[in-house]
Amino acid sequence: MSQPVPVLNPAVPDPPATLAVDVAGLRKEFRRKAPRGATGPRRRKVDALAGVTFAMTRGETVAILGQNGSGKSTLVRVLSTLLLPDGGSAAVFGHDVRRDARAVRRLVNRVSVEASFFKKMSAVENLSYAARFYGMPPRRTRERIPRILEGVSFPVARRGEPMENLSRGMQQKVALARALLTAPVLLLLDEPTTGLDPRSKLEVQEFIREIRDTHDATILLCTHDLAEAEALADRVGIIDRGLLLQLEPPARLKAGYGVESLEQAFFAATGRVLADDTEDGNDGNDDERDVFA
């Protein structure tokens, strides 16, 4: 990674006492069609979040470990105002995600497992229009976009190429740049390195480390990757079937279960292996997983 990208959001509430994230008894359920030929009701209730409670302080990095369908992405979507919770509360820097959604949106950005872009448009074009949605005028984007792309080591020569010509690793760097461009104070990273080749994965992780160390950002990282969680997070949470079972610093988490690795701690907490995604508690139903995985 070349140079740090200065990102400071002037809209951040000042009082340090305000929690960056304050989640209490958060619930979200989905009703899904039963598989063809199944007995019982045609629709069944699935708890994606079954009363999640936790808090994050400003500047903290928290990693949430969980299998597919465990509720990680539902949590991220609720915090980014893309899903309405069914119960409990969630607030970002004191702003309730339901009642004060627009204020939350000004403070939050997200990088998901799919680097979603208009594929025919270039990196610069995608970043440029996205910044407008956050009220950033052309004068500012002309100056910031090249610096941010440089910050994520995106090659200058490829800035005008359609996104569809770029590798997944390159696209994910642009996704990180898009998230940082709006100077979020809460950065939601939903499996940002899943599916990347080892080199791209390391580059993205290095950049996350840099954001953590040099920017005024609180980071919630949802991941399958135990090493990534341990390396980047101040605290690690284990989520399973919509329940947050643990949230502790990695060393304390391992010590609590008397084990040597996070993998063992995850197994001890859930009775399952993190890498085994077929046992995700949702009967392998892709439709359900598609919604809240």
């Binding site: 799919e114 872009f117 208009f118 448009m121 407008r132």
Partner: protein
Amino acid sequence: MMTGLRAELIGVAGVLERNLYLTKRYFWWEVAFFVWTVANTLTIVFIAKGIEAGGGTIDVNRVTTSLLIGAVIWAYLGIVFEFLTETVAWERWEGTIEYTFMAPLSRAAHLAGSAAHAVLYGLVRAVLLFAVVALFFDLSMPRADFVTALVVVLVASASFAGIGMMTAVLPLISPEKGAQLGFVVQGMMLVVSGVYYPVDVLPEWMRWISTISPATYALSGSRDAILDGAGLGSMGSELLALAVIGLVSLPIGLALFAAGERYAKRHGKLKRSG
């Protein structure tokens, strides 16, 4: 307050900017689509000559021009509807919908940007279509008042945008079938609004529906202006009807979209692509 308004206007410009990039990137698609529209319009406009060749006695110049106006307004309406419906459908296809919906831009500004692009793009396409198809016929329009026709279409555009917002919500609540349902609404307007025939020929119940369709007034106003040279001064009833329908349909469109967005966020429909 001013800062908020400025941010909203920048957001509206962002929608226009993005769609301009897409038009540029999909340029050959645009060319192919335009050629198809020209061919489709020609098949309709040649009907007047066909009637004459079959022994019918009609004013070929007038009927040809009338059919051309109908086809062009219809193509324009289709573009406005299509772009507004694509506000959701296209973003769902590209996978960007969640990023757009989690941005702090108000939905009204977001939809206003989509509507502004649809109207600008649709007008350019409509003018080009009219000019290109007219070249195939030796049309005489000595009394045509194109400025009045343009004003009528612009005023009608607010109503089209309002109804387009109503159809744009359909892909939000039904990812699989929503866009197709938008075409159903568009088709119903085609039938009742007198695109290729006077509304007088419709059954009474369809005539009643035609009175609440903005396309009816856009078509009659444009035809009066281009065929008979009617000026703005004589367009009072059309412009009033269009203004009323616009004033009613825009807030209803926004409210329906907001309700659809809440439904999608409650049921996890934003993510699914299809």
